[in-house]
Amino acid sequence: MDANYKNLHMKELEKTKRISIAVTLFILVVLIGVLSFKRPKNLYYFNTTETLQQLASEDLFVSLTDINNTDYVLVDVRKSYDFDRGHLENAVNISSSDILEENNINVFTELQNTNKTVVLYGKNPEEAIAPFMILYQLGYTNLKVLPVENSYNQNSLETKLVEVEKYDNDIKTFIAESVKKATELSVQKVIPPPPPPRKVITVEKKKKAPAEGGC
């Protein structure tokens, strides 16, 4: 009886030992996992659906007259070469390919913390939308776009305000008009004189000479 009990007891102890080892290993694995997990440098703050919803409800643009507002910080997203040739007054240059670099991200974070609005501009509004969208999805909502086109006239920067997504020409009307104009013209026009008749030169085949006298 006693031996039987002891035997059972040993078995029980062995079982716990095994469980303990397994659990220790498991916890070790989890610990290693947690420690070796590197937090990604940049994380999205909004998912795509949220971004889309918020963009639809927001006014993305500032007008050229407002940029002297002290709460606005102008950021030129063009290449530094273009920036050096000429840029808007008080603008800083963070080219779009560098926006995710650590020191630039720190700049954006600081501006957000101090409640400043970042106004992005590039060669044209389309150039500013790429850095805008990326920073926005990372959670920087203090962003605007300055809808301007920048060009150089003898090395001096010319900035022109443009309207984004404006339907410039009514294509439907243009096509209808062109059809109308063309048909009208053809009605007015006297039928063009017929082309001169073609001269046909028929060359008659030489008749085969009859066999001339042979022997």
Partner: protein, 222 residues
């Protein structure tokens, strides 16, 4: 006696284990923060975005439409009203604010077609492209310059001036014939079309007969 002791120790161990597991499970609560991180990494997205390869030119697109390229699928991301007024032939309308609706996913997340996004310029289309690229949808392009560029190059191409290179004229001729394909008519086009009707029924044939050389009399044989 011993049995009781052992059971006590064991119970204590299991309690500790259970506690550890509960703590670990608590860690799961922190996870939803990372759920927002859907799609590709911001760094990858940035390098995709600054790559101009996503653009397709209006000439290239016109060529593809005219040659009836079956792989191309046009997506108009403007609102319904603009779409109803004018759109590039055979384009689908997915307004930007409905881009991520579930019913549109089947159009966007596929690899059979080359999608081309367009809007009036390429501002909205770029926005749509960036969102889709984050979700790792492939084969999407953006029409460079959008509908406005489409108008000024394909529908109403500028006539090159005399001193321009021959290549410009070639391009103009292509664009002009493309514009005819898309419904624009030119006055001279009508003239050309009318020409066959004006042709006289049968022009009198002028026959110039070439006089036959007189046959030389048979010359003596042997």
């Amino acid at each position: 006696m011993v049995k009781k002791k052992v059971a006590k120790v064991l119970a204590f161990r299991y309690k500790i284990l259970a506690l550890i597991f509960i703590i670990l499970a608590g860690g799961l609560v922190l996870l939803p923060k990372y759920k927002k991180h859907e799609g590709i990494k911001p760094e990858t997205l940035l390098s995709n975005v600054i790559n101009p390869e996503r653009y397709i030119s209006t000439d290239n697109l016109a060529h593809k439409i005219i040659s009836k390229d079956p792989s191309i699928l046009l997506i108009d991301v403007r609102d319904e009203k603009s779409y109803a007024n004018y759109t590039i032939p055979n384009a689908l309308n997915i307004p930007l604010n409905k881009l991520l609706d579930e019913e549109n996913e089947m159009y966007l997340d596929q690899d059979q077609y080359d999608l081309v996004f367009f809007s009036n310029d390429n501002f909205s289309a770029d926005q749509a492209w960036i969102l889709c690229n984050r979700l790792d949808y492939t084969n999407i392009k953006v029409l460079k310059g959008g509908i406005n560029e489409w108008f000024s190059t394909i529908i109403n191409p500028a006539i090159p001036s005399e001193n321009m290179a021959a290549l410009e004229f070639e391009l103009y001729n292509f664009r002009k014939s493309a514009s005819m394909y898309f419904g624009v008519m030119y006055p001279e086009q009508i003239k050309v079309a009318k020409k066959p009707e004006a042709k006289p029924v049968a022009a009198p044939k002028k026959v110039i007969t070439i006089e036959k050389k007189k046959k030389a009399p048979a010359e003596g044989g042997c």
